[in-house]
């Protein structure tokens, strides 16, 4: 499937993946993320239940310590 991930068009070799599955697929090693699919917040606790499908827009914000 083709998705828009953080403003980049990407081909993902899978028919469907959960948000957590996509994070693993992309090897995002950062633990503290906020995620949106098609503009809608997907909370940390929901990432195993929400699926990413062909044509979806996924945005991942990586939060880092310091302040």
């Amino acid at each position: 499937m083709i998705i828009n991930l953080n403003n980049r068009i990407e081909e993902v070799v899978a028919d469907e993946l959960t948000v957590n599955g996509l994070i693993k697929y992309k090897n995002f090693t950062f633990r503290l993320l906020v995620t949106k699919v098609n503009g809608k917040l997907v909370k940390t606790v929901d990432r195993d239940q929400v699926f990413v499908n062909d044509g979806d827009t996924v945005e991942v914000l990586h939060l880092i310590s310091g302040g």
Partner: protein, 203 residues
């Protein structure tokens, strides 16, 4: 993710202060980001604050946070209130010395016009961003993200990440044993947050 730019807002000092006097800013975390942003917004004329931090001032905080030697040991929300009152005694401050949980977010910040995320730990940042997006989608939140170290001024930017979420910082410089948060860069990001808060409050 889009870079966020607006034109400079022009208005008279009286008009500016009159408008800002009616505004309430929520500040989550009163460390390097929160204390410096609160001082900038107080000097600018913001009328009310809700400040939240469970911590006390430590000697190691004085390299970047808006506190003073004689305030070591005081609760940060108390010390910050004193420092704000030294600038303007008429400012209203609601201070909460608690560790914020998701269920506190709406109660504490529901009446705010804008929220500044100024926690130091990424877990707390994530909790607040998710909670505000879910519980208070009508209130803008400005996140501080990535400001450790020295130099790299040109890497600091503002991104509009969601309808009500703005992110200030470089997004990469995480605090670690070899990468410390220091006054200049932390205060720059705190003041980017404060400056953006003013823009959004006056829009």
């Amino acid at each position: 993710m889009n870079s966020y730019n607006v034109d400079c807002i022009k208005m008279t000092q009286n008009e500016l202060r009159k408008k800002l006097k009616e505004k309430t800013v929520g500040i989550a975390g009163c460390g390097g980001l929160g204390s410096n942003a609160a001082i900038a917004l107080s000097r600018s004329g913001v009328g009310s604050f809700v400040i939240v931090d469970f911590d006390r001032v430590e000697e190691s905080n004085l390299n970047r946070q808006y506190y003073f030697r004689e305030q070591i040991g005081k609760k940060k929300v108390e010390a910050l209130s004193i420092n704000i009152f030294k600038i303007d005694r008429s400012i209203n401050i609601e201070a909460h010395a608690i560790k914020m949980k998701p269920h506190d977010v709406k109660t504490l910040f529901g009446k705010c016009d804008i929220i500044l995320e100024a926690f130091d730990v990424a877990d707390a940042k994530m909790m607040l961003v998710e909670s505000v997006m879910e519980q208070l989608p009508q209130i803008p939140i400005i996140v501080g993200n990535g400001m450790a170290g020295i130099g790299g001024f040109e890497l600091l930017k503002i991104i509009k990440w969601a309808e009500n979420v703005y992110v200030c910082g470089d997004g990469i410089s995480e605090v670690s044993e070899n990468l410390h948060p220091l006054a200049p860069r932390v205060a720059i990001v705190a003041n980017m947050q404060a400056n953006l808060a003013l823009e959004l409050l006056l829009k």
